[in-house]
């Protein structure tokens, strides 16, 4: 064994570092906290892009083929671009950078008591790789033929030949942007896992890790193990488009369904890559504001891992009507229904945490509760989609659109905002305004439901997803008032984010300076100053004495007992 001490001692030596210049401090930084903030900025910026696309799309659906205020005429071809790019941006360039990139980087070293990530330079590389991928994706709007328009799932044969969509370079760049994004998150995932395995502080055993670290690690593992087949598929798709092969083209002996299998083998674990970090934020927020231990710590870990494993064997539930062997529908229905068991355990553990707690309704707590309640709705509608007989009727309708926005929107937006409001004081050293935060929460909750709940009704009424003009179908014309209602709700949902933007900027500039531990929480990041200095811990790394959720413990003088506090006198 070559000496790990020498390797690990490197950060100690650089404790006495010289001042770095502007570039090394803010742009090409190897500091995990700075990189986390860079991911957060990139993700928030892309939210604006993706949100604007959603607005243009919704206007076209409410008033088909009219001028969209602030944009112009849309038409069916550009509508396909909107659908594709909205999905791509929100999943790969908003959800993953914010939930995994920003919080993974910021939280993992702080929560395990490390000075930085295991590979700081690889960390910097992974952010800038993602940055390049984002630029490539945005550039695809401006190439001749416009951006990709084959749906965010990129099904061949539609995506396999330029003549089918009329988009040549846009779709090639779309594949390239994905490849770069995957490379970035592969590097990030390896870094997360290695850091948590090798760099935990003394006393920080695996079963003393805060749950969000467990969830982030599970998410990283799922991503690492599921993305390979999709990369293989992307290589084949690119060969089809550029070299003229026919992996996915039936006329050349290829099989379009193969892509769907490769895509969803990745696609379903990917859902949990996004969902699990959000679950983790909620697991951190709930006990802090209930002032009692999280219910079923180990059960949550086991459920998370079980859900992760099961997520590899459910993918064909996206394909019940794709033309695959119908005998596969039954086994995949069963695994899909089975996966609701670990998630039900998670949700019950969250609700049981609330029971008997002395709840403090702060903004992060409200968003965490919003996540739990909305996620239950999304989970219940998932059971309809998961059972093949029901799915035959509702597949590719707005019911599905409503379902996955209830799951993913609740994860990314409610979970993400819970995380941002909760850790903002630690990230930036200032508090956000509670009143504005509560206004933001209630408006978001109301207009979220007003936007996405009616989609279920539209779907049961037969409205297909990805159609540019519902008015051209006679049977959908009576449903058009619902579409108009959804559009105005969606616009108000976007407007409801303004209090957040104001609060965020105001908090950065003029918020009340945050104390070390403003929420009276136990986990290690609150033992560092707000914001933590370079290398996080000053001279000595904290030593961990207990699990992360010891609230209202009789051992301590207060109703919280930080992980690193040594309690001497136990008898009284």
């Amino acid at each position: 064994m070559s000496d790990p001490v020498a390797v690990l001692a490197i950060p100690e030596a650089s404790l006495h570092h010289e001042e770095l210049g502007f570039w090394r401090t803010y742009l090409f930084s190897t500091e995990h906290k700075t990189i986390g903030k860079q991911y957060l900025s990139l993700g928030l910026f892309m939210t604006i892009v993706g949100g604007f696309l959603a607005y243009v799309m919704r206007w076209q659906l409410a008033y088909p083929d009219t001028e969209v205020p602030g944009w112009g005429f849309v038409g069916p071809e550009f509508y396909n671009v909107l659908v594709t790019m909205h999905g791509t941006i929100m999943v790969f360039f908003v959800a993953m950078p914010i939930l995994l990139g920003a919080f993974g980087n910021f939280l993992i070293p702080l929560m395990i008591g490390a000075r930085d990530m295991a590979f700081p330079r690889l960390n910097m590389l992974s952010f800038w790789t993602l940055f390049v991928g984002t630029l490539v994706l945005l550039a695809s709007f401006f190439v001749p033929g416009g951006a990709a328009s084959a749906g965010w799932t990129g099904y061949p044969p539609l995506s396999a030949k330029a003549i089918y969509t009329g988009v040549n370079w846009g779709l090639n760049l779309w594949i390239l942007a994905h490849a770069i994004e995957f490379a970035s998150f592969l590097m990030g995932g390896v870094n997360f896992l290695t850091t948590a395995i090798t760099m935990r502080a003394p006393g920080m055993t695996f079963f003393r890790l805060p749950l969000v670290v467990w969830q982030l690690l599970t998410a990283a593992t799922l991503f690492l193990l599921s993305v390979g087949p999709l990369i293989a598929g992307a290589v084949m798709l690119l060969m089809d488009r550029i070299a003229g092969t026919s992996f996915f083209l039936p006329e050349g002996g290829g099989e379009p369904l193969l892509w769907q299998h490769l895509f969803w083998f990745f696609g379903h674990p990917e859902v949990y890559v996004i969902l699990l970090p959000a679950v983790g934020f909620v697991c951190e927020v709930l006990p802090v504001f209930c002032r009692k231990p999280l219910f079923g710590y180990r059960w949550i870990i086991y459920s998370t891992i079980t859900a992760g494993i099961l997520s590899f064997v459910v993918w064909a539930h996206h394909m019940f009507l794709s033309g695959m062997d119908p005998r596969l529908a039954m086994p995949f229905s069963i695994t899909t229904i089975l996966i609701s068991v670990p998630f039900a355990i998670l949700v019950f553990a969250m609700i049981a945490t609330l029971w008997g707690g002395s709840i403090r309704f702060t903004t992060p707590m409200l968003f965490a509760l919003g996540f739990v309640s909305m996620f239950i709705v999304g989970g219940l509608t998932g059971i309809f989609n998961g059972s093949a007989p029901a799915d035959i009727y509702i597949t590719d309708t707005y019911f599905v659109v409503g379902h996955f926005h209830y799951t993913l929107f609740s994860a990314v937006v409610f979970g993400g905002f819970a995380g941002i409001y909760f850790w903002f004081p630690k990230m930036f050293g200032r508090m956000m305004n509670e009143t504005l935060g509560k206004v933001h929460f209630w408006l978001t909750l109301i207009f979220f439901n007003a936007t996405f709940f009616p989609m279920h009704i539209l779907g049961l009424g037969g409205m297909m997803r990805r159609i540019a003009n519902p008015m051209q179908y006679q049977f959908l014309q009576p449903l058009q008032p619902i579409n108009v209602f959804i559009t105005f709700s969606a616009i108000l949902l976007l407007v409801a984010q303004i209090p957040f933007a104001v609060n965020f900027v105001w908090g950065l500039v003029a918020g009340t300076p945050a104390e070390r531990n403003p929420w009276e929480a136990n986990t290690l990041e609150w033992a560092a100053p707000s914001p933590p200095p370079h290398l996080n811990w000053g001279e000595a790394i904290p030593t961990v004495h207990r699990g992360p959720y010891e609230y209202s413990s009789p051992e301590g003088p207060e109703d919280w007992l930080p992980q690193d506090r040594l309690v001497v006198a136990r008898s009284s």
Partner: protein
Amino acid sequence: METTAATRAGTDILPGKVGVWWFLASEVMLFGGLIGSFIVSRLGSSGWSGEAAHLSVPVAAINTLVLLTSSMTMVMAFGAVEKGDPRGLRTYLFLTVLLGLTFLGIKAYEYSSEVAAGFTPVTGLFWSFYYTMTGLHALHVLAGIITNLALFVMARRGLRNQHRVELAGLYWHFVDIVWIFLFPLLYLT
């Protein structure tokens, strides 16, 4: 209790090794996806063995031997590190790079003779898979050669960062193992 970096709860495994193993796990899934697609497509079609008969088994067998030998020299390079023998390290790294280049050279010869005989990636599904799988593998070999070459240059300045030889070796053996799967799948069935 002393609270320095030396007394961590984390394991005493080298971080680099943990990282490389996770990276290789994702690589297994990449080639696994490709090989799985190949097997499924092959089971669903007929006449592929006729196509495969146009590949040259003796040339590929020699190439397999070359790559296996390069794995051996890589192990010997690591052995030289453990013995503290910088001269041996340089020799074996150089041999590994040379054998890797030989593999790519023979592969290029194969490609050119196949293309000359009229078998290109668009000839049929078998050939599409053949060129994509071996091409992706060849890119991995190239990456390994570049890594080993960088180590060779570093080794001229002594034995610092010697653990990198072990990490590069893990990757190089992985590339070798992928070929061990590709060879029978593409050439021998």
